[in-house]
């Protein structure tokens, strides 16, 4: 939150609130809510669901208040739902700075969005307060109309607010954070119908029955999200512990994983594959631990046998990954991460597209990080020099397409990468073990 609340955002909040009042007043006169107790009941439900949002794997927060709004608009009509939605602002609380502006905005926008949705429901042919076997499938069209209206008003108003507060373009904010959330609205709408049916049939008591499973699902999902973090932290911690003894490779895997993840994003990969690529990159060098110390630390040129030992490490890393079901594909990639496009690499001497895609990505990221970090036998290269070197080795060592993608990543997010890498190293697990300087390998393993 910026130190002073932008004036434009204040003006916007006031005008949204004014529109909401102008909308509510005639509604109260023409179709007043049947009972204030019912309004309070639905208001409390909206407040509770806004106060406990669910986090999605993408990091966005959802609340199930739309479920309650749909139930209220079917069962009780526009005035009740618009009044009940006013409680939503209270979920934000008054602790943060400028909180009052957020509270007003949130109440006004949700009241407007759900009130308009309720009117759209009626306009679409929906009947308020009557739900039975005969309502189907006729009720579905008005529900779809109401859902679309709620989505457009809600996301439009919030996106404008975020854009004004952060000083960004409205369209871009809407597209990146809200455009795709319509699917969750359509996921919630059936629940709302259900809630309305149960409420009309039995009353508020039955809502508790629906809350239990939703809470259970939410808790299980939260445990899942937390376990994902535990998983990530443990894997990174163990990798860091393996690397920590060598000041020159410290943080290497972490950085390669970060670069690989950005490459995956640039190539348009989505979650299960992106995660696999990231963990393959993170674990690509754990097998080096199996290479005897005296070989790894040998300052002179390696003889045939010693080089053979070095060549073992992708297979050893791959063995570890192969035991983890969701990294099966990644294990193959790690096995081949020292292959070269001209077939001169190891262990199998594959060429070009025979090399798995993940392996080609990891090999470029690995080489880039080796060049840009300091080693015992040479100083670190600048980013420009390293990229030039990658380009020079296109077609012989690296896949030209992958290198081109890599350049785009560096161009777009170079700054972000540098700071994130620093951060990853600072807050990472690199200091878990006592420092112990030992000279780095001087093989041609990392790049030719």
């Amino acid at each position: 939150m910026p130190s002073s609340f932008p004036r434009k955002a204040k003006a916007y909040t006031i005008s949204v609130a004014a529109v909401a009042c102008a909308f509510l007043a005639p509604l109260m006169v023409r179709q007043p809510p049947t009972s204030l107790a019912i309004v309070a009941g639905f208001g409390a439900l909206i407040l509770v669901s806004e106060a406990f949002p669910t986090r999605s794997p993408g990091g966005a927060y959802y609340s199930v208040s739309f479920v309650v709004a749909v139930a209220a608009l079917i069962a009780e009509g526009p005035a009740t739902v618009a009044l009940a939605a006013l409680t939503s602002g209270l979920a934000i609380g008054f602790k943060a700075r400028h909180a009052i502006w957020y509270v007003i905005f949130e109440s006004a926008q949700l009241s407007l969005a759900s009130g308009l949705a309720a009117l759209a429901f009626i306009a679409g042919g929906g009947k308020v307060g009557a739900l039975s076997t005969h309502s189907f499938p006729g009720i579905l069209l008005p529900i779809v109309v109401a859902t679309v209206v709620a989505f457009l008003v809600n996301s439009g108003l919030v996106a404008t607010h975020v854009a004004l507060v952060k000083g960004r373009s409205v369209v871009r904010v809407w597209r990146s954070s809200f455009g795709w959330t319509i699917s969750s609205y359509f996921g919630y709408a059936p629940l709302g119908i259900l809630l309305a049916g149960v409420y009309l049939e039995i009353g508020f008591a039955a809502i508790a029955f629906l809350v239990v499973p939703l809470l259970v699902a939410r808790t299980a999902f939260a445990s899942y999200m937390q376990m994902r973090e535990v998983f990530d932290a443990t894997t990174r911690g163990i990798v860091a512990a393996v690397e920590a003894k060598d000041p020159y490779t410290r943080g290497h895997s972490e950085r390669v994983a970060l670069l690989a993840e950005m490459m995956g994003l640039e190539m348009g990969m989505a979650d299960p594959r992106l995660q696999a690529l990231k963990y393959a990159a993170l674990l690509h060098d754990v097998g080096k631990l199996a290479v005897p110390k005296h070989v790894l630390n040998k300052p002179d040129r390696l003889d045939e046998e010693e080089y053979g030992m070095i060549k073992e490490h992708p297979a050893r890393s791959s063995d570890v990954l192969g035991e983890i079901d969701f990294l099966k594909e990644a294990a193959v990639a790690v096995y081949h991460h020292h292959e070269r496009c001209d077939g001169e690499g190891y262990p199998s001497g594959l060429t070009n597209s025979e090399i798995p895609l993940y392996a080609r990505v990891i090999s470029v990221c690995d080489a880039f990080d080796s060049m840009t970090s300091q080693r015992a036998y040479r100083r670190s290269m600048s980013v420009e020099a390293a990229v030039a070197e990658l380009r020079r080795c296109c077609g012989t060592q690296f896949d030209p397409d992958i290198v081109a993608t890599f350049e785009r990543v560096i161009e777009k997010r170079g700054q972000a990468i540098c700071s994130e890498i620093e951060e990853a190293v600072d807050t990472g697990f690199a200091e878990a073990l006592p420092e112990e300087a030992s000279p780095e390998v001087s093989t041609s393993a990392a790049f030719a």
């Binding site: 049939e201 039955a206 932290a233």
Partner: protein
Amino acid sequence: MTTPGWARLPVIVAVSAGIALGVGYGLSDLKTDLVFFAFVFLGELLGISLPGGHTAAISLAVSFGFVLLPSGAGWGDIALVVMGGGFAASLVRRRGLRWRSMVESSRRSLVLLATVGLVEGALGRITILPMGPQRLSVLTMGGALAFFVLADTLWRAALEALPRRIPLWPVWIGTLRALGSLYAALGALGSLIALSYPALGIWCLGLFLVPLIATQYSFGRFAWIRNTYLQTVRALSRVPEMGGYSEPGHTRRVAELCLEVARDLGMSSVDNLEYAALMHDLGRLSLTDPPPPAIMATSDQRRELARVGAEVVGKTGYLEEVAHLVRQSAEPYRQPWEDDDSAVPLGSRIIKTVSAFDDLVRPGGPGLTARDALERLHLGMAYEHDPRVVRSLTRVLEKRDWR
């Protein structure tokens, strides 16, 4: 998972009971039966694999709903919907899943039939009447659900514990803890289905698929990540061994034996113990040269290794309890002039003793027989090793038939 021969029995009993009830009682409301049959069938197909077996959460909730219908389902209808729906789905499944899903629906149906029979015998029909004597019906319904959950988890626990000859009680508690909230959710949804079906008809079942799928999906994801996490920790526990920092296979053998000892001692939640056992040797990564086995190191060295290992685990920021178990796993179970050091958790004592045992018997070590190694641990009971753990380890090894 291999199924013991006697696990076939419930399937045979369920199929014959289903046919007998269907033929004996006949059907009362064919339309409702068919609707619920279709949803039990569909839910069974959407089932997921959880650790400890296949789970068809959606079918279970729909079955609950059917049994609780206010109009009252007869025995023949229950047999058709609950048993028939489940078995029909099993028949169209892939071969690998068919048997597991049949065992699952047999268990579900038999426990559900027992529940209905019990409540009917004691109190009359267990339908919930929205307009009727609500308090009584809610109580009956709650009691029926509780009975179902207890019986079903007991059955699952027995399947897990009896073939491996481990105590039933802690396994039952563990199963209840793992599945209790899922069953609560399914019970609530099932009651709602029963309440709203008369008013909303078939549409209500379609609408209920949304929260049902959400519940099942969340549990499935959680089970998946838990399983993946365990696999990953197991795989990574081999990393110190790869570099010669600890003996090949040591960590894994220790983890396995620790779990058996823990179950023998009646611990019901063993997840953290397994993680700690798998990671107890991580501290060895900090050594420059591959170290001697723990049994030959001095107690200060061991303590230092445990401290560094715990630090690695603790850095993850989530596994405080695991880190604590690792840290304390080098401590003696009692201090001089005291009976017991309560700061050392039971899990740490188990890891300490089992790890020492493995160091004594593994190939490449002193190579003692299990008997001699136990004798050595007995000598350490005065100070290092908790007598309870040593006795339990002896029992576990006797079961394994080690010499």
